[in-house]
């Protein structure tokens, strides 16, 4: 092939590219960017290669997330206890409020940055996002349904026939497809546009105030060993010394029966705290001020208390009032209004 041929080939290539730009299909694909790792985040834990997020799969997952037929009497959706405006938690409820007005025993955790989670539920037991939805669907106090019934209800709806075909190639509704679609929706619930993120990514104009910066320094000194950046959790299970509740919830022990797991709960992220009160696995603290005071003066030496909260015989984390104020200022930089207002994640 001589030089002239190459030029012709390049020119025709350019022409094809030019044509493609006008193609409406390409524009539509460009609107849905799929799963994207934020620049300041680590590699996800979830195996995306086994379930690549597509527009159709995501939209199916979103429809299922907001589908009341997932519950026994078709009244409760995933979104009932995971409300977007509350960063996908159930604002105002200490413990989740499910089917037939039944109450659970734990606070609804946020559906947020789950691609980076290696374990699910406050008390562990579930280690794969694709298997997680089985728990709320089958739990007596939540949706109280069985998976077989759910799939049969979904199969009976023409709306889903087309959606499954679009997402997976055929109309067949299987457990794996159902779960993978839900995962695709949940994987897209990425919160990474808080002020903190913008400062870290050095985006134009983003800078901490003096108090926020001082709070950030305090955070790194006093909180980051468990609530590590940038997810603000290290994903581990720890006992943070909460007084043992009347129902004696033993946390991770319930899933492992290992003595040293008693009273350990998953370290929650500190992102979006403004929207996710109340706090802790049983929602016992109504405000951030309550939480900070707890760490300052109320930590108890219950079995398996995390060593970082019991240093030199002193329980908790000493915090002066001005330090609390600065920490609060920093924690407020972790609120992500884009996330809670993202229409793509809302019920359509």
């Amino acid at each position: 092939m001589n030089k002239k041929h190459w030029i012709v080939l390049c020119l025709s290539g350019l022409f094809i590219l030019a044509c493609k730009k006008d193609n409406p299909i390409k524009e539509e694909i460009e609107q849905f960017l799929g799963f994207r790792k934020p620049a300041n985040f680590p590699e996800p834990v979830y195996n995306l290669a086994n379930n690549p997020v597509t527009k159709e799969g995501f939209e199916l997952g979103r429809a299922l997330f907001y589908e009341p037929r997932l519950s026994r009497n078709n009244t409760i959706t995933c979104g009932s206890c995971h409300i977007q405006s509350s960063a996908f938690t159930q604002h105002g409820h200490d413990v989740s409020h499910g089917i037939d007005d039944r109450l659970g025993t734990r606070n609804s955790p946020p559906i947020m940055n789950l691609a980076w989670n290696k374990a699910f539920m406050w008390g562990g037991g579930v280690y794969d996002l694709d298997l997680q939805p089985i728990t709320p669907i089958t739990t007596h106090e939540e949706m109280d349904e069985n998976l077989e019934n759910v799939l049969n209800k979904i199969r009976a709806l023409p709306k889903y026939t087309a959606m499954f075909k679009g997402a997976f190639g055929t109309e067949e509704v299987t457990t794996a497809r159902f779960m993978k679609a839900l995962s695709q929706f949940m994987l897209m619930c990425v919160s990474s546009n808080s002020k903190y993120d913008k400062v870290m990514r050095k985006e134009a104009g983003a800078a901490f105030t003096t108090d926020e910066q001082a709070g950030y320094v305090l955070f790194k000194d006093k909180c980051a060993s468990c609530h590590s950046e940038p997810l603000f959790t290290d994903g581990s299970f720890r006992n943070n010394g909460l007084g043992i509740s009347t129902i004696n919830d033993k946390g991770l022990y319930g899933a492992t029966l290992i003595e040293t797991d008693k009273y350990k709960f998953k370290v929650p992220s500190l992102r979006n705290l403004q929207y996710t009160a109340p706090y802790m696995h049983d929602g016992r603290f109504l405000s951030l001020a309550g939480v900070l005071e707890y760490y300052h003066s109320e930590v108890q030496a219950t079995p398996n208390l995390d060593p970082v909260l019991n240093q030199n015989g002193k329980l908790g984390i000493a915090l002066k009032e001005d330090q609390k104020a600065k920490l609060t200022a920093f924690l407020n930089t972790l609120n992500d209004t884009e996330f809670i207002n993202n229409k793509m994640l809302s019920e359509q």
Partner: protein, 274 residues
């Protein structure tokens, strides 16, 4: 006399035509293992309240449900050739109330087998596999919910290996028994050893010597069937014998390991149909 001679000839022929074939992994033929549930000296009948079974502690009980996973079948010839069934077709859910499920049907090379090995439960590898691999009896949606035949523990990401339910008059009506007053006993035994940290492991590998009650002669032109008795009485009367009144509900509990230790004693080779 003529008939007798004729039969002798026939027998001779069949013997001659049917020597132990060479062990070739590709030369697959059907083999089934039958799990025939019994209770002590009696056959299994569900909810036989008129004539309940009685365990070694003298407690009367009836059975309302029995189902368990059998997996990872492996056979060995006298010469020591071992064949492991492809894991993708080696998981079976035996349900006492559905006679069609009592066989684990597999394909193994033609040969004369003196030993059978299988797992009671679902191995840790399969228990941690992606959702796509959890099909058929391992589909978390299979069997309906926990109140029905469901065998998947959603909150613990694992399977119930052995689900045994029934009733006994010795069960109290308080929280230590059955507060609903129905006198129900429930034994849901699972636990595969944990995801990230080691937890209880109640997977039991069962080894059955076939030489006493009949080796399995697997050939392409017939169906060899290893007929096992599964004695549910051994749940209570095995080496870790216990009283129903003291442990009417064992699910997610350290005591599950004690019961699981009784499982190997349940399996007894009765005969083989070749």
């Amino acid at each position: 006399m003529l008939l007798f001679s004729f039969m002798l000839v026939l027998a001779a022929c069949s013997k001659k035509d049917n020597p132990t074939p060479d062990f070739q992994e590709e030369n697959l033929a059907p083999l089934s293992v039958e799990f025939d549930n019994i209770v002590g000296e009696r056959t299994l009948t569900f909810d036989n309240t008129g004539s309940p079974y009685k365990n070694a502690a003298g407690e009367p009980f009836t059975v309302s449900r029995i189902q368990y996973f059998i997996s990872n079948l492996k056979v060995t010839t006298a010469a020591g050739n071992t064949y492991t069934v492809n894991p993708d077709s080696s998981y079976f859910l035996i349900k006492g109330d559905d006679k069609a499920t009592r066989f684990a049907k597999v394909k193994v090379p033609e040969g004369d087998y003196t030993n059978l090995t299988f797992t009671l439960g679902v191995d840790s590898l399969r228990s941690t596999m992606p959702i796509d691999k959890r099909t058929g009896v391992l589909d978390p949606a299979a069997g309906g919910g926990m109140e029905d035949g469901g065998m998947y523990w959603g909150w613990n990401g694992g399977y119930i290996f052995f689900k045994f339910e029934g009733n006994s008059a010795v069960i109290s009506d308080n929280v230590n028994g059955d507060p609903t007053g129905k006198k129900q006993m429930k034994y849901h035994i699972g636990f595969f050893g944990g995801y990230s940290a080691p937890t209880l492991n109640n997977i039991k590998v069962i080894n059955v010597d076939l030489r006493t009650a009949g080796i399995a002669k697997v050939r392409k032109d017939r169906q060899s069937n290893i007929h096992l008795f599964v004695d549910l009485m051994k749940v209570f009367n095995g080496k870790n014998a216990f009283k129903i009144a003291e442990k009417p509900n064992v699910m997610f509990d350290d005591f599950s390991a004690k019961i699981a230790a009784n499982f190997p004693e349940m399996f007894r080779h009765d005969h083989t149909e070749n």
